[in-house]
């Protein structure tokens, strides 16, 4: 073009134009939902056994299809729901006169193609209405990431304490260097229980290592148990539905909460989408998760968000996959957990369905650290966005799972967590945490503000800690001996959870009194305006009272 429009030059420089977009290409699976190559819903049952599903005969089933047919499909409901009109089912989902339990019952008899056909009739607002009604736990909550570029343990403890104070119900860490994992798990545990007793913690690692840390009592739940919608990608991920279901039972056998992870776009990204739409493949993941007897699922594209984010109606499909999970009566940790767009407008819009409707965990997770310290490749919202997020709660009168906090209390709790970890390291014979490091972590924003540690020494000690068989009880002892009885008690209370198993149930979190709140004793009962979750007076006061707001008494008149 010889001469350029100044208008178009300005637009070209806008952040959104740094994002990637792609036209639909159904043959390779680059299509969000309703691909012309998606199977048509069908189901044949003989002698109580599924012999044909979505146009495929039993002898041709891949592993995923066999697992879904035998462990998910409820043959007593399927004949009823498979003959119902899909648009009618979609209307029932948004009809306040049809209770959640009825939709959940019908959903157990649907095939993957059927549920995708139902969701295809729903626009984004209807999907959000469905989420508000169908999520399992009545009270919404939030999860955060606590990581840093250098795996600095003191900083992890301080950030975990701050995030717990801010209200996150679950915290997830991971590693830059794998051998740091035991320290990261330990620091997250001590920090979180300093900020607020009852916060659940996990350390995302290779499956077997993650389970081992849980067995040692250094984490209280797990989430990075990935499942995929095509057999080839599942196998490339080094698992099968049977190995993953066995792993699920292994976690429960040690009294540990866990959920699976999946998401639209992963199969395209790994090159074997078999020409199916992203939502169709994701529906298979949700159903096999349900069949495995896992209580919940982290989905909403997760680390593949760039893929649905690039195609038409992709963000609607991401909300739709959350809704399918809820219809199957599973806990959902609903994504929003990876840097998604250069555009602040777009990343806020991507958040709104889960934020406004409410989910079990709106983010999985919100980055409680600066974007540069987030080892999950950033999050959709980072700690720098916290005041924006708090004001979004206030503007829309929505419970986003966090609370305003003062600088004084944050500084105090960060300092205490760093000192507590200093004591634990000393007692367990781990490399010294200096007073200088405690001071830095107290006031730090990110790892750039932290003095460097002797990494080789840390890594050796971290491996040694595992070899010596250090457990959560050793941490309790160390804290109690050094005058941190309340934190010691909180960690012991976390360990006690795995004896009763109450928190193994769907959508379980713990309040500050270690009281379990789950879809057993806090089941969502939304039936229209005035029902379901409503902000209590106390919670609304908390959300309303941001420090930035002018009050008449502050004005000099």
């Amino acid at each position: 073009m010889a001469k350029r429009s100044k208008r178009f030059e300005v637009l070209a420089k806008r952040p959104v134009n740094q994002d990637g977009f792609v036209a639909e290409w159904p043959e390779v699976g680059l299509i969000a939902m309703n691909s012309p190559f998606d199977p048509k819903p069908s189901l044949k049952i003989e002698n109580g056994r599924v012999v044909e599903m979505d146009g495929k005969r039993r002898e041709d089933f891949d592993m995923i299809e066999q697992f879904i047919a035998d462990y998910f499909i409820d043959v007593s409901v399927a004949p009823e729901v498979m003959t119902m009109d899909s648009a009618q089912i979609a209307r029932m989902i948004v009809d306040i006169n049809v209770p959640r339990t009825e939709i959940a019952r019908l959903a157990q008899g649907m095939t993957p193609a059927k549920v995708v056909e139902v969701l295809g009739h729903m626009n984004i607002v209807e999907i959000m209405m469905g989420m508000m009604k169908m999520r399992a736990r009545k009270t919404p909550a939030n999860q955060c990431h606590v990581t840093n570029l250098r795996d600095n343990p003191v900083q992890i403890a301080a950030d975990a304490a701050e995030a717990a104070l801010r209200g996150f119900a679950e915290q997830e860490t991971t590693v830059g260097v794998v051998r740091y994992a035991p320290f990261n798990a330990l620091s997250l545990l001590v920090g979180s229980q300093t900020g607020r007793g009852g916060v659940l913690t996990q350390c995302a690692l290779e499956e077997a290592t993650e389970l081992q840390l849980g067995m040692r009592g250094l984490t209280s739940y797990a989430e990075t148990i990935s499942v995929y919608g095509t057999e080839q990608v599942f196998v490339d991920g080094d698992d099968t539905p049977w190995s993953k279901a066995f792993l699920a039972s292994a976690y429960a056998s040690r009294g540990l909460k866990m959920r699976f992870t999946s998401g639209t776009g992963s199969e395209v990204q790994m090159g074997y989408a078999e020409g199916k739409s992203m939502l169709y493949l994701e529906a298979r993941c949700v159903m096999l998760t349900k069949g495995a007897g896992v209580q919940g699922l982290q989905n909403g594209s997760i680390s593949c968000i760039g893929v649905p984010g690039a195609v038409p109606t992709g963000i609607r499909a991401v909300a739709a996959e959350n809704l399918i999970t809820m219809m199957l009566d599973l806990e959902v940790a609903s994504g929003n957990d990876q840097t998604f767009s250069h555009s602040d407008i777009r990343r806020t819009a991507r958040l709104l369905p889960q934020f406004a409707a409410g989910t079990d965990f709106i983010f999985s997770g919100y980055s409680a650290v600066p974007n540069y310290d987030n080892m999950f490749a950033g999050s959709n919202f980072d700690i720098e966005d916290m005041d924006d997020y708090l004001i979004l709660q206030r503007d829309l009168m929505v419970d986003g799972g966090v609370r305003p906090v003062s600088e004084e209390e944050v500084v105090a709790v960060r300092n205490r967590a760093a000192r507590a970890l200093q004591a634990v390291f000393k007692e367990l014979g781990l490399p010294e945490i200096t007073d200088e490091e405690v001071e830095a972590a107290t006031y730090a924003h990110g790892s750039e503000d932290m003095p460097p540690r002797k990494v080789a020494e840390d890594l050796k000690a971290a491996q040694d800690m595992i070899a010596r068989g250090v457990t959560g009880l050793d941490v309790v002892k160390a804290l109690a001996k050094h005058g941190f009885e309340d934190i010691a008690q909180n960690i012991l209370n976390m360990l006690k959870q795995r004896v009763s198993g109450d928190y193994l149930h769907t959508s379980a979190i713990l309040d500050q009194h270690f009281h379990v709140i789950s879809a057993v004793n806090d089941l969502n009962d939304y039936r229209g305006p005035g029902t379901g979750y409503r902000l209590s007076k106390e919670r609304w006061e908390e959300i309303k009272n941001i420090v930035q707001a002018l009050r008449p008494e502050d004005m000099e008149i």
């Binding site: 959940a104 896992v294 009566d329 109690a480």
Partner: protein, 177 residues
């Protein structure tokens, strides 16, 4: 009421009965046996969370009560890592709660887990790895199933591993060499 519903009902009853029988055979089913069967008819509304509403039913893997899990007992060495482990009994009780909530697959997961409480940590990790694709021959998987059944009384898991062997064979996911 149609025939299929009746059939399913009967199957469920048989399954319940065989589970109860299985529990009585294991020492860990003692809590239910001690307090009587009626006490084990747990209801989500009145009995959950068990730690708060039915603490008398909960024991650690070493038979201690929840109230014995104190800082003092951790410091004096009376509480060991074995004491903060769940029992098969607690998992079977949680399975009943899950079933009463209409979550039958979750309940079945808790039942598989109840069996796996008897399998040591290291062995669990090994069996998980053996179930990954191309790790095991058919014979190796069948040997694991026999071990689970005979050594640990893990009948549901044994059947599950045998099924995996069949599926892996049909789909070419066994180790060939």
């Amino acid at each position: 009421m149609d025939a299929r519903y009746i059939e399913q009902l009967v199957r469920e009853v048989i399954k319940q009965m065989s589970n109860v029988a299985g529990e009585e055979n294991t020492p860990a089913a003692s809590a239910c046996a001690q307090v009587g069967k009626a006490e084990c008819d747990l209801q989500p509304g009145k009995d959950y969370p068990l730690a708060e509403k039915r603490p008398e039913l909960i024991r650690t893997a070493t038979g201690k009560k929840l109230e014995e899990l104190t800082i003092e007992n951790v410091l004096n060495g009376r509480i060991t890592p074995q004491d903060v482990r769940i029992t098969p009994d607690a998992l079977l009780m949680q399975a009943r709660i899950a079933e009463a909530c209409g979550r039958k697959q979750l309940a079945q997961n808790f039942r598989r887990a109840a069996e796996l409480t008897r399998v040591p940590d290291e062995r669990i990790l090994e069996i998980y790895n053996a179930l990954r694709p191309y790790r095991s021959t058919r014979a190796e998987l069948l040997a694991i199933a026999d071990e689970l059944e005979q050594k640990y009384g893990a009948r549901i898991n044994a059947a599950f591993v045998r099924e995996a062997a069949d599926v892996y064979e049909r789909r070419g996911r066994l180790r060939t060499a």
